[in-house]
């Protein structure tokens, strides 16, 4: 794993943190929301396992109220 050592974590950390925040907010909202567009458990999987795009897709398509 020498590649990991060559990477400056101080530069990468903000990206990881932003992703984590997005994921946590999305999950928090998914638990509280009454109904989503499509089954809830599928959205849970999408948020948790699709890197980067999962939470964003949930916010755009999952929780629309119209």
């Amino acid at each position: 794993m020498e590649i990991l050592e060559g990477i400056n974590w101080a530069i990468l950390a903000p990206i990881v943190i932003i992703q984590l925040i997005l994921m946590v907010v999305a999950i928090f909202d998914l638990v509280r929301i009454e109904k989503t567009d499509g089954p809830k458990w599928v959205w849970a999987l999408v948020i948790l396992f699709i890197n980067l795009l999962g939470p964003i897709m949930y916010f755009i398509f999952g929780r629309r109220s119209y």
Partner: protein
Amino acid sequence: MKQWLTLYKKELLEMVRNYKWIWVPLTFILIAVKEPMTLYYMPQIIDSLGGLPEGAVIELPVPSAGEALAASLSQYNTLGVLIIVLITMGVIAGERKSGVAGIILVKPVSYARFVTAKWAGVMLLIWFSYFCGYFLSWYYVGILFEFISFTDFIQSFFVYGIWLTFVLTITIFFNSFLQSPGAVGFITMGITILLSLVSSSLSHLLDWSPALLSVYTNTLIMGNGFPEELMPTILISLFMIILSLFASIAIFRKRELA
């Protein structure tokens, strides 16, 4: 004015409630910051993916700071525009479907205030997100490559922001008469893509087209100064933004809730 402020506050409150104030800025930051980092770590990424024969040497030219920042903007040109259209496409059409617009408009609320309050609400959200993302991208480019002068940064920020505003206003415009949010999104994306394609392929004929603002922004970032076509382009874009805003108010008044 008081009525307008109430409508405006309602917009902002709604965006707080559905977490737009959290996820839109964060997404814009991710989109923008990802790009200079990928460019910076490109040699390591290629190494770790492997698959190269032993001893193969790839010489990648080190991108200049300007190129790295321009790469962020090109991400906004695709993903950023897509996100703007997706979050704006339901702003009026969705409310009309769910009946909220009806509840508001039975009261003596002027259509102009209703539409402009919505427009201003999304404007604030998008410009805030865009500033966060672009500023951080500029900062990262400064750390990883070299700092681009702050005036160039601010100038390119405002010039490119006009293009994003243009996209947003067009989306609101189609909102005023189309029923389904999906149709609004689809048509706006189509028009944006078409406009970009036509303007970049016929750039000698259409050198004032709003879609070329991104091209001119790149010239600005690269430190090549202010292109002379830029000023007319900005004026025409602002004019078209105001025109489509007025048109959407007029159409919305006529169509009402039909």
